[in-house]
């Protein structure tokens, strides 16, 4: 099973995306999509040696919701700061200590941070224990770090790493 269908989740995603891509929900499209959904992961399985396990809890859903909202917030926030003009900005580098361990989780966290209010992940320390984040306009650094860990890191940890440890 594992060898025939290396990444069921990926296969499902790909089939779905194929349907989006061809803009067509006909049986033909579905068959072809399913075929590709099986074939591509199969062909690229060696690029994904480890199985990605996701705890299908509501955590993921909630996280995605938060994330979506924050993107919009983030964008408006940045837009506002830009329009306010450079003079008023208080940029800073903030070091966020990481509890996450898996590459995937860390990377997703970094992305999330970059897309959400006033922050861009700038640098991951060699030991992967700290993520340096650049902020556009910060008053309370500690609060920011706390928010990041609570808002994003915790859910990501539950989704991707619970049970791994």
């Amino acid at each position: 099973m594992r060898r025939l269908l290396p990444h069921p989740l990926l296969s499902a995603t790909l089939t779905l995306l194929w349907l989006l891509l061809v803009n067509d929900l006909s049986a033909g499209a579905l068959v072809l999509g399913a075929l590709l959904g099986w074939l591509i992961p199969f062909a690229t399985s060696r690029f994904w040696p480890e199985q990605i396990r996701i705890r299908p809890t509501g955590v993921l859903a909630r996280f995605l919701g938060v994330f979506a909202v924050d993107i919009v917030r983030g964008s408006f926030h940045v837009a506002w700061l830009i329009l306010k003009g450079p003079a008023r900005l208080r940029p800073a580098f903030v070091e966020v200590p990481l509890d996450l361990r898996s590459d995937l989780a860390i990377s997703l966290l970094a992305n999330t941070i970059s897309l959400t209010p006033g922050t861009v992940s700038a640098y991951l320390a060699a030991d992967r224990k700290t993520l340096v984040v650049h902020t556009l306009d910060t008053g309370d650094v500690a609060a920011l770090v706390a928010e990041i860990k609570q808002r994003y890191e915790t859910p990501l940890k539950t989704v991707f790493e619970e049970g791994d440890a």
């Binding site: 061809v22 068959v31 591509i40 062909a43 690229t44 060696r46 860390i106 992940s121 060699a126």
Partner: protein, 931 residues
Amino acid sequence: MTLFLAVLTPFVGAALVAWAARFGRPHSAWAAGAVTLASLALLVPLFPLPFAGETLIEQRDWMPALGLNLAFRLDGLALLFAGLILGIGLLIVLYARYYLSERDSMGRFYAYLMLFMGSMLGIVLSENLIQLLIFWELTSLSSFLLISYWQHREEARRGARMALAVTGLGGFAMLGGFLLLGHIVGSYELSDVFASADHIRAHPLYVPTLVLILLGVFTKSAQFPFHFWLPHAMAAPTPVSAYLHSATMVKAGVFLLARLYPALSGTPEWFWLVSGAGLATLLLGAYTALFKHDLKGLLAYSTISHLGLITLLFGLSTPLAAVAGVFHIINHATFKASLFMAAGIIDHEAGTRDMRRLSGLWHYMPHTATLAMVAAAAMAGVPLLNGFLSKEMFFAEAVHVAEGHGGWLLPVLVTLAGAFAVAYSLRFIHNVFFDGAPVDLPKTPHEPPRWMKVPVEILAVLCLVVGVAPAFTVGPLLAVAAAGTLQAPLPEYHLALWHGFNTALMMSLAALALGVALYMLRRPLFAWHEGGLGRLDARVPYNALVDGLFGAARRVIRTLDTGSLQRQVFLFVGAALALGIAPWLAGGTPLTGSRTGLPLDAVSLTAAAALILATVATVVWHRRRFTALVTIGVVGLVVSLAFIKFSAPDLALTQLSVEIVTIVLLLLALYFLPQHAAPEPDRLRVGRDAAIALVAGLGTAALAWAVLTRPYDTIAGYFLENSKPGGGGTNVVNVILVDFRGYDTLGEITVLALAGLGIVALLQNLRLAAPARDAAGRPWDPDTHPVIMATLTRILLPLALMVAVFILLRGHNQPGGGFIAGLITAVALIVQYLSSGAAWTHQRMASDSHPLLAWGLGIATFTGLASWAFDHPFLTSTFGYLNWPIVGKFEVASAMAFDLGVFLVVVGATLMILTGLGGLHRAEPVRKETR
């Protein structure tokens, strides 16, 4: 056929002779003799014909278009020369057998000799002028081989090259002359030439024709001012000198004078040019001969002088003079050949040819001495010897013609020449065989081997019997030869020793007396000569000329071909501009046409501005290489925007993908190229380049404008109509690519495959130093594969692959297709290399892309070939619709298979190129950067 065979025999014989040499030195000599005899045996049975007043002509087509036929002719003149060539040839073969030393390769010598003999026969037996010229040049080439026979000797090599250059010059001139002659006559056959003699002389092209032909004659027969090569040719072995430079090759020129006498002679131009050159040569040769210390040198200049005499005779252009000319050809051949051989014997036995050391050889080799003295006397024109007779006739004609042109000068000059002839002949005899004892000779001389003397004896006897009883001996031969020369009834003349006390006799006696006197006075004369004229050496100006030629060539090439790419590009752009602009200068064509265009809009303006600025930035910052790379990226982006804007989605997609791959390529290259660009050499060049670049820009802009503002009707309609019904696709561009013009695409992917293969070949054992620091001198970041990048790009791989499949499948009906899909796939994989490294990626996919190329090209080609099975031409496409349960109706087209081939080639080539280049890293331990 017989004549043809007779000429062919020596050529075939050459090979035979060379081969015979394997069985021992003498064998090649015997073989050569046999070959000569064979050729003779073929001809002799034909000799009666000319005597019966007939001319034998053999003809077979060769290049009728060119008027060049294999045509041979045997008449009196041909007979005489064929006889001389083969007869004397036989004697030379015998003589050389004993002359050549152990060190000399006989096979080579005789092979060359046979080649020469064949060429010579070819000349004299030719009926067709072009064919004659072919043999003419062959004598030059074979004599080059013979003169340079002792190739280790500097003077032999120089002499050979000089002879080839001078006679070569003549040959090319004569080619021109013959072509003109053929043009005038309308044929190259001698018979036709003789037939239209008057037409020729009357023709406006007569003079150029004559001059060109005479150039050939004079160079070959060493006429002034082309005489100087002959003495240097004396570096050849003596048998060669005896054969080529007395009896035969140098006679080719005078032969041609005789041959064309009926067609070209009898005009003032002929008279003055020919007799003028002849007279000058006669005097110069006779004078110089006296002062040569080298035995062969003396003989060489005497030959020059006698050739001048013969030329002069033909120049006088009276029938009797011509007869005398022919007669002297015979006589000179006999006595000069024997003299050369005698000289050879002396050289052979005494080890030197320097007359200042040779003396009193009478005591050592009385027999040889006697023979030499007979021949020398003949050369001097002493009565009872053949030389006397022809010289008599010569003097007589000189007087006769002088009367015609009312001058005493000619008789005086020829008598003077005669006197010098007497003097140098006397020197040859007295200086060598008497005049005290020899001066420290390398070896004590003695008589040569018996058979070495035989040829000399035969010739000496001939001189004597002809001299005593001409009418009974040479008479008939002379008659038939003269007839062959004149191609007309012979004039009244009779050969006899005694014509009574006439002017000619007086002149002969005067010449004898004066000659003896000159020899008596030789000491003061020598002193005077060495002080003046002796210093002149024609070789000096010749070498100056040749060196000048080589020097000039070197200078021209050095200035033109500097090996600079920039110059080549500059020249090319310049030439293109000249070609493109020239037609407009004539005027008459408006630049702007009648077609109305599209309105401008802000977005296009912005984009265009960006493109132009980016281009300028790229140019200005080309030395800040990384920046230039970014700006050229913008250029590519805007170009693809333009494609989109003007309804070319496929182009946009292609351009975008290519753009990125190119940037990745350039980055790979940038890493190994010097970090700092060298400064511009000079402002001048920059200005010059900027100027021509500007003109080129204006030119292309104007060209684009000219076309855009003109209406046109195109074959495009056909594609739009037939795309769906005929090609089974709605994306017309794609249908054109895979169907209407699938052949182009096949070629295009071949180019791509070739690029891949060529690059692989280039990269083989290519070693480059990897820079340790960047342009600013910073060390590189230690983090080789940033985690976040690595992880997330891995997510993209399946997505990208899916998009690729999507693009590939829809290509036939919607923008897309194999090429773009291929690039997407390749790029998706390249990103893995970028973010996770080559090693990591190669653990996960095959690293060798060759199979992809082979499969791709294979699929595309064999899809095309499949149509043969259906009796259709290569690349004929077919398509149909399948209807499967669930899946439903879908199209299958052979074009799609073709496109799959394209896809595979693109993936293969791109990966091959990028990974190959990427594999360059860690080539060798990092060393200091050098530009």
